[in-house]
Amino acid sequence: MDNTWVKLLPVETIPKIMNYQEQMDTEQQDHKISIKELVKKYETNLVKGLSSAKAAEILARDGPNVLTPPKQTPELIKFMKQMIGGFSLLLWVGAVLCWIAYAIQFGQGNHSAKDNLYLGVVLAGVVILTGCFAYYQEAKSTNIMASFHKMVPQQALVIRDGEKQQITADKLVVGDIVLIKAGDRIPADLRLLSAQSCKVDNSSLTGESEPQSRSTEYTHENILETKNIGFYSTTCLEGTATGMVISTGDQTVIGAIATLASGVHNEKTPIAVEIEHFVCIVTGLAVSVGVVFFILALTLGYKLLDSIIFLIGIIVANVPEGLLATLTVSLTLTAKRMAKKNCLVKNLEAVETLGSTSVICSDKTGTLTQNRMTVAHLWFDNQNHVADTSEEQSVQSFDQTSQTWAALAKIIALCSRAEFAPGQEDVPIMKRDVVGDASETALLKFSETVFGNVMEFREENTKIFEIPFTSTNKFQLSIHRNNNPYDKRLLLVMKGAPERILESCSTVMLQGREVPLEDDEIEVIQSAYLEFGGLGERVLGFCHQYLPKDKYPDLYIFDADSRNFPVSNLCFIGLLSLIDPPRSSVPDAILKCRSAGIRVIMISGDHPITAMAIARSTGIFSAGSETVEDIAKRLNVSVDQVNKRDAIAAVINGSDFQEMDPEFLDDILRSHGEIVFARTSPQQKLIIVEACQRQGSIVAVTGDGVNDSPALKKADIGIALGIVGSDAAKNSADMILLDDNFASIVTGVEEGRLIFDNLKKAIAYTLTKNMAELCPFLVYIIASIPLPIGTITILLIDLGTDIIPSISLAYEKAERDIMNVQPRNPSKDRLVNLHLASYSYLQVGVTQSIGGFLCYFTVLADQGWLPSRIIGIRLTWEDTTNNDVEDSYGQEWTYQQRRYMEWTCYTAFFVGIVIEQLADLIIRKTRRNSIFEQGIFGNKVLWIGLLSQVGIALLLCYAPGMQNSLHFTSLRVQYWFVAAPFAILIFVYDEIRKFFIRKYPGSWWDKNMYY
């Protein structure tokens, strides 16, 4: 069975990827062809640019250079959806039936009976009101997003008519010549015509956090990899460049990804599925019971009008009118609570989705890591030293006494172009803004912490010459005046790729002394280099040389081109490695995920080794779990000989991925518990998410870049990063992590799980009294007794007394450690299951009805109507012309007197239900534990709920004017206690139920009574 499943999908998916690749190749040739051809193709001029007229013409043809925003559902349709969703349709039917009943009565000449007209209006009002409420809630959560849409119009410097012009970026057209400098956002897809040490940040597109250098060379046939293209919406970090616009708006690569994202349908959230399922059950019940009794009533000889009124009553009694509003409020409350914990929920239903999540596909950069390079290790004096990589980094505790360290520290401080942005003296070092690339920033902050004021130190040791780092020479060199008054020699410092630095050295400094660099020493250094590299760290080598005073006096003119200074036989000082370290809260959070049964899969655009190192240090790869490669290494066999099933962990390289079919991916997901995907593309992310979903998992995806947006949308819950995240990612996501911290997701999961449990309790609470509302109607029809409870009364329970109590259950604390159980299985652990329904309806509900009936019979009997008299009395009772109906004691009653009597019954039944609902609310605090264990007073809001319930009931009973408007009568005080025995019974019975569930887990009782 599974095989057919799996085989069908790959067939669909694979050709599409191929197709996409092919299209890329055939469509996007602009990076391959020569600039001459390009100029011809786009009819432009490299020096003069386009003419304004031509540009206007192209603009008219291609449209403005903006991304088409995703299609918005019209507000009216959204509103209408709310009006017919859920129970609304059923209630509309009820309202229409009311009006039909009224029309029939009117037709029969009974002009005064307006009850049905009003009831219809009330029902319609309920639908419209709850609809408006839901619409408002939805609109409010979308409004949070509106702020993200407001973007400052981007400017672009363009050459047109031979002049440099500043225009807004949306006016750019294909063929325009654009000038880019450091700090600019690239305004369209550009083919670079010239570039001066230009570096771009493509992370929003490819997920790669490293700055990419840009040049005019065509280096790769894949447009995403080649160096001569600058992509729309990426940022130029340094240098300058000139480029020709080759595509604009939706035709850009980013536009294509955005289109991909808008093509992905938003999956229905698990809670939406659950609510739909529940609405289905209740609607099915209402309709079937309604129809059965409609037919029954007709066959029993009731008139059509009466039968219709029965049908209305049954529908109103069956539908928990207030429940959907309650759910919305509960979710909103949780959303607010989550927002305080830095999880901003865009889509209310997503609140619960996080709780159901069984797989988290996490981005590496920024979420798991701190998104900044930090010094991780140092190597000098033949020794490894570990640096503190935590967020604060206040103290560096490694041994700093050696002379070698002093030399190394001096190089780190001097051989750097990075500087703190001015005016930040009061800001903690780690939080200061730095002008310079990521590595230099790390070094600057590192030396500032260990060394003191670096800028001052640099002033004392004036830089007189410098060769900046380039990708060709792979080192950086500078020459400084020395601040030591006894040593006026100039100091040459150099840092760069370790192999390049080692080449330039002939000595090495050990404990402050220079010794010749022997082969075995080189080997030691090499192995340290490899060790750091193996940890996924970027390694830099450092060396220096004091230039002899006689040869290099103070005013010596250094020249970079002739290299009139030593660049060999320098003195090797040490190595230093950098890493983007994991956030300190992450390992703990991942551990929590693991105990909560949530699988964390890392999807990274980075190199496999870096990705694996982070996986190890964050605990995504647990201690002792091995990859196939690790096993192969340990057993000293080749990778092919290892049984793949033995390896718990796996690192999958995205570039191998394209050859893998999804069947293989399914296999990987099934056979490895701990997986890291490295070097993945946006499409691959999407495929991975789909693969996880195929396994039946509820998948959460975190991401920040535009490249993540398709996956974010495909995910059951997309989580965008609030600080570094792009607007596209935030738009596609369901939730925004305001602090970019993975640990916040875990608190989100906890809240989500809690709300699922609590919604279950709220639903169980609400459904119970529906039985107590339904039973009176059924008995009324079958036994022909006076109506025990009115339709309006039912509405006042559903929308009056019961609302606050059911919301208060959202504040209930967890019954057990919810973070130590597996995530719920969406196909088995339903929000509303058969056990919940049967326990609520058939057990507690029936008990409640009986309590209600006791109230009803007591009130009637006390006034002279014994049960024996009222059974079968209905027709006489409801006959308006019969004004001397005899009761059990021989007294005679007018119609109106009987009506008041009936309203007293409504009130009594209502009070009975309210009293029993108090017990029902208390028992719903827990599903398994004893109430006494949970604490009766723990949930303050629940007590407010209980009080409000009694308060509203008192108001309805005793406020003046209630008798004729809502048919409530002032009930004698003792009737409030008639149902109390049944309330106590409900409490005791539920305690017994829970006791046996705890005592005999897995028993028949447990299986049938636990909901």
Partner: protein, 320 residues
């Protein structure tokens, strides 16, 4: 076989893909559309449907496990037994609480009488539409039902029966009786007291002459002393001009009150007032709305909602 079923069910999900390829051709410029297609296929819904249909049959009866509606026979028996015991217990508890409640009631008077604080009025005959008297005075058949009804209603008031069962009382005095005597005495209300409407002189109660008799009765309320000291007075009139002539027989004398309930006051004879509508030829073939009102200190007759409290309206239509 199961596998094939499964595969068949999944067939439909490929259709959306096929239809969407057209879309791809239109949009060939966007390099990624080819991929977007796949995700756009909304296959999940169809899958659910297909599985739903198969699963439904299986749910009704699963031959593999012998489960019927998700439970085996023994499981059904067990759950049935559980509910039997549970509902048995509930029924027992309900019966017990009802019994306790009924024990607290008095056999002779209801606990509360506040819902019937003031009596309503009603008329006899009550046949067909109870508040309408429609007949042809020259057609005996058309008023026969009224005559029979009145005759039947007045049977217990026959003088002989009254004399045998009830006592003679002093008019103008309430017949208050001590509580320790359980069976209460009742005053005689003789049929002959109704004079022209007793049926003695005219066996058809004036219906043949177009001057029909209507009996007005006041609802019984236990312990209620009508008039609170004065005899209640009844007055009937047409709601619209011109007025009709009315003759009254009998009275709601104080001696008939208070009423002690049907268990204590077995032979109680409810007092009546007969209203003879002296209708002439002017009033034939015309709708008459007659309203009777009772006046007395503790008698309400102008309640907004209860149109029968201390008053009663009925329609009379006589044809010739």
């Amino acid at each position: 076989q199961q596998q094939r079923e499964e595969a068949e069910h999944r067939q439909p999900q490929q259709h959306p893909d096929i239809s969407l390829t057209h879309h791809a051709k239109h949009n060939i410029k966007a390099p990624l559309t080819g991929f977007a297609l796949h995700t756009m296929a909304d296959k999940d819904d169809k899958k659910d449907l297909a599985e739903g249909a198969g699963g439904w049959k299986k749910f009704i009866f699963n031959p593999g496990t012998g489960q019927f509606m998700g439970r085996t026979a023994s499981s059904w028996a067990l759950i049935f037994l559980f509910y039997l015991v549970f509902y048995g217990f509930l029924a027992g508890l309900f019966s017990f609480t009802m019994w306790v409640m009924l024990q607290m009631l008095d056999d002779y008077t209801p606990k509360y009488r506040d819902r019937v604080s003031s009596p309503g009025l009603m008329i006899r005959p009550k046949v067909g539409s109870p508040l309408e008297i429609v007949f042809n005075k020259s057609d005996a058949k058309s008023y026969e039902k009224y005559v029979t009804a009145l005759d039947g209603f007045l049977k217990p008031y026959d003088d002989l029966i009254q004399a045998r069962k009830n006592i003679l009382c002093h008019p103008g005095d309430y017949l208050r009786q001590p509580t320790n005597i359980l069976i209460k005495k009742a005053c005689q209300f003789n049929r002959t007291m109704l004079g022209d409407c007793s049926g003695a002189n005219n066996s058809s109660f004036g219906y043949n002459e177009g001057t029909p008799c209507v009996l007005v009765k006041m609802n019984r309320i236990i312990g209620f002393e009508a008039g609170a000291g004065n005899n209640p007075i009844i007055n009937c009139a047409s709601k619209k001009e011109p007025q009709v002539d009315v003759k009254y027989f009998g009275s709601f004398d104080k001696m008939y009150y208070p009423y002690y309930g049907k268990k204590a006051h077995v032979n109680y004879s409810q007092p009546l007032v007969a209203v003879k509508l002296m209708l002439g030829t002017n009033e034939t073939n015309r709708d008459l709305m007659i309203e009777c009102k009772i006046t007395g200190t503790n008698l309400k007759n102008d309640d907004d909602r209860d149109r029968f409290l201390g008053r009663v309206s009925f329609r009379v239509h006589i044809t010739e």
